[in-house]
Every structure is written in structure tokens, then in C-alpha cells.
């Protein structure tokens, strides 16, 4: 009578025999291959080389007057670049940390006090806050009413964190490269 194959596993009363070794080996080697194949299928969705080349943005500061802000794009995100007035700087430095939901000194958020550079995305749910608005002389997010101060720190409203300060580095006095700390 022809044996009725019940699969590659041995009958219950026998343990794995030497003959089964080849099946286990073939299966394992095949499994390794499938695993190695999965990586390219996943990695192809990661940002492509041309996107990664745009990971830094250069900004010319020479045209920005005191009290003026511009909006630049870095990694497809809006970035506020503000030439702060002396009053804004003093206000930011004088705020006690106990007043802040996300305590951070102003000095920790800037390289040079007159230049404030931050990602213009509200840390609540991602809208772009409006500048020179709000109760703290900084930014106001119209979506759900978050108020940021002259250092971009959250003071009132639902946002949990201060506006994010990206890596940037000064090249000379009037140029910055956002997205890196190396020139």
C-alpha cells in the first residue's frame, strides 16, 4: 500500500530522524532567503537619495531686518527665522522656568540671541502658528488656541511642548545652514 504522506514531519512516536535533516535545512535556508528579500521591499519606502540630499537648507540672513520674520522650508517643513528685537530677547530671558509647561531657558534655544530659528509646526496637532500674535508677544496657533512666547515656548493652550529648534550652524555672520551642526 502506498504510504500516505502526512507532511514532512515524522510520525508522532518517532523523533526527528536524520532523514528529516535535509528538509529542515532546506526550509531554514529558504527562510533566510525570504528574510533577506523582505528588507529591500521595506527599505524602498524609506526616503530616496534625492530627498535625503535635501536634508539641509541654507538661509541668507542679511536681508532680514530687526523685528522681521521669514518663513523658509527645511525638510519640507516650515521654519520660522526671526530677527528678534532687544525687548523680545529681554522678555524671553527674564521668564522664570516655573512659569513654563516645558521648561527651557532662552539661552538653550538660540545660538545668537538675536536670531530665533524654530520649526513652525504647533506641537499640539501640527498646524502652523501665526506670528506676532497671542498673549505673550510671540506666536498664536488658531487651530486650538496655543500661545507661544518670544522664545517660542508654550505658555497657554493645549500644546505640550515648545516649538522645536532644529540643528543649525552659522556660516559667517549672515548665513545659517539648517539641519546640521557642521559647516
Amino acid at each position: 500500500m502506498a504510504p500516505k504522506g502526512k507532511g514532512t514531519k515524522a510520525a508522532p512516536e518517532q523523533s526527528v530522524t536524520r532523514r528529516d535533516f535535509i528538509h529542515i535545512l532546506a526550509g531554514t535556508v529558504g527562510g533566510v532567503g525570504i528574510g533577506a528579500t523582505i528588507w529591500p521591499l521595506v527599505d524602498q519606502m524609506n526616503p530616496s537619495a534625492d530627498i535625503l540630499a535635501l536634508s539641509t537648507t541654507e538661509v541668507d540672513l542679511s536681508q532680514i531686518e530687526v523685528g522681521q520674520s521669514i518663513l523658509v522650508v527645511w525638510q519640507k517643513k516650515p521654519v520660522f527665522v526671526r530677527h528678534r528685537t532687544q525687548q523680545e530677547i529681554l522678555e524671553a530671558e527674564a521668564t522664570p522656568l516655573s512659569d513654563l509647561r516645558d521648561p527651557q531657558t532662552d539661552q538653550a534655544r538660540v545660538e545668537k540671541p538675536e536670531w530665533l530659528i524654530m520649526v513652525g509646526i504647533c506641537t499640539h496637532l501640527g498646524c502652523i502658528p501665526l506670528g506676532e500674535r497671542g498673549d505673550y508677544g510671540g506666536w498664536f496657533c488658531p487651530c486650538h488656541g496655543s500661545h507661544y512666547d518670544t522664545s517660542g515656548r508654550i505658555r497657554k493652550g493645549p500644546a505640550p511642548k515648545n516649538l522645536f529648534v532644529p540643528d543649525y550652524v552659522f556660516v559667517g555672520d549672515d548665513k545659517i545652514i539648517i539641519g546640521t551642526t557642521e559647516t
Binding site: 504522506g5 528538509h23 529558504g30 537619495a49 535635501l54 541654507e58 521669514i70
Partner: protein
Amino acid sequence: MDFLKKNIDKIVGIGAFLILALFSFRVVLFLTFSPPEENSFMATAYEGLGIEAAPVVDRPVEHPRQMEWSFDGRFGHFDKAAVRRGLQVYREVCSACHSLDLIAFRNLTEIGYSVGAAKAIAASYQITAGPDRFGDMYERPGILADTFPAPFDNPAAAAISNGGKAPPDLSLMAKARADGPNYIHSLLTGYVDAPVDFVPNSDTTTYNPYFDTWEIVMPPPLFDGFVEYEDGTEASVEQMSKDVTNFLMWTAEPNLEARLTMGFSVVLYSLVLTLLLFLSMKTIWRRLKP
């Protein structure tokens, strides 16, 4: 051995079919590449079938000279020094007319330039960018993310300045022609005086036996010593042509080396896996009573 005996007729049959197919393929190749005036069998066949042979062509288009390139074969790789020299030839000779739209300055780090050197090459070009805050386009030095700027703003401008035919983009040229690298090299080094009996159709073209209509709009682009190589290599026409061919093969297929390297592992792995599956199969089938 048993396997052979049981299946000998199938083996002979398949073998015979393969030989027949290969033979007929070879015969077909022979027939197609031998027009009636060169092949008496074809001439008779044509006559017998009452076919008028196609107008006899004085000379066939030359087939490209077959060279040995570093990127040929299973273990092909780019001779990066040659590719860099080829880039220099492109920049100093070809880029006057031909664009290289698909290559970005950041790609130059793949052929041995440091990031700083690539940035310097990028910065040597003025790139049109914008619009700025005032709505105007402006010029700025290139950055790594930019692609090589084109010599002409659009195909019409390119055609007007080049005898009515826009010089083609070179990024994919090595793959856009049959036997691409050999063709490019033969074309660039193949400018010779036209045969006495050659009647050109146009007076704005140059004779080149490798070009498919023998009359090419591009005048000979290379002359000995035209370029002074940074690495000191002597810049003969042959040398510059080889280097720019290497360069264009890289621009057409920058991932060639990765492909061949991965290919080696994948084919080797697949052979091993197939062998294991074969053994597994035999083990299972041996369980069957004959």
C-alpha cells in the same frame, strides 16, 4: 544512470530540439546579416521567389569596434579614474551642447570625489533658482542636490543653435543605443573622410561610418590634446573617447557594481537553495514504492 536510461528519448528529443533551434537561429542570423549581393544562397532564393532585392546599398553601416571595458562581464566594475577623466571631458567639451539631466552633483561622490570636491564642482555652476520673495528668478551657485544644468533652456533653443537638431541628453546614451559603449567609442573616434563616391544628402552634416545614416550633425568633437587631464594622462582622441565612454556608462547605470555584487550572492544562494530543495525532494519521493 537509471534516470538516463528511462528518459533517454526525452533527453535526445529536447537536445535535438535545442540544436535545431540554435542552428535555425544561427542560420537566420546569417541570412539576415547577409544581403543578396554578399550571399549567393540569398541571391538565388530571391530570384527563385521572384523578389526584387532591396536597393543595393553601397556600404553597410559599420558595426562598432568591440573593446574590452572594465565594466564588462560578471565582475564588471567602474575604473573610477577613467570615469573622472571622462567627467572632465564632458565638462570641457560635450557640455557646450549636451545636457546631463539625470546626474546630480551629489552623485559625484560615487566616483571618488570627496564631498568637498563635489561641492566645489557644484559651486562652479550657476543654477537658476527661485522665484524669490519678489517673484523673480535668480542665479545662485550649485549645491550638491542640484543636477547638472543644461546648456540650452529647451529643445527648440538647442535645435536652433545646432543645425536644426537638438543634441540629445547624454545621461542614458550608453543604454539608448545597441552595443552602447562600443558604439559611442567607435563614433567618437570614427570620423574619417567620406569615400569618393559618397553623396551626402545635406551640407551641414559630417560623414561618420558608424552613424546609422552616415551623416551626423555633430562635427568631430575631439582633437588630440583638447583637454589637459588633471591626473596628467596624455589626452589623445582615443584616450578621451575611452574615458568619456566609461563616464557615460556610469551615468547610464550608476548601480552597475551593486547589481553585479548582489547578483553573485543571489545566484550562488539560489543554486545552494535549489540543490537543497532537490535533495529534499528526492528524499520524499524515495518513500514511494515503485
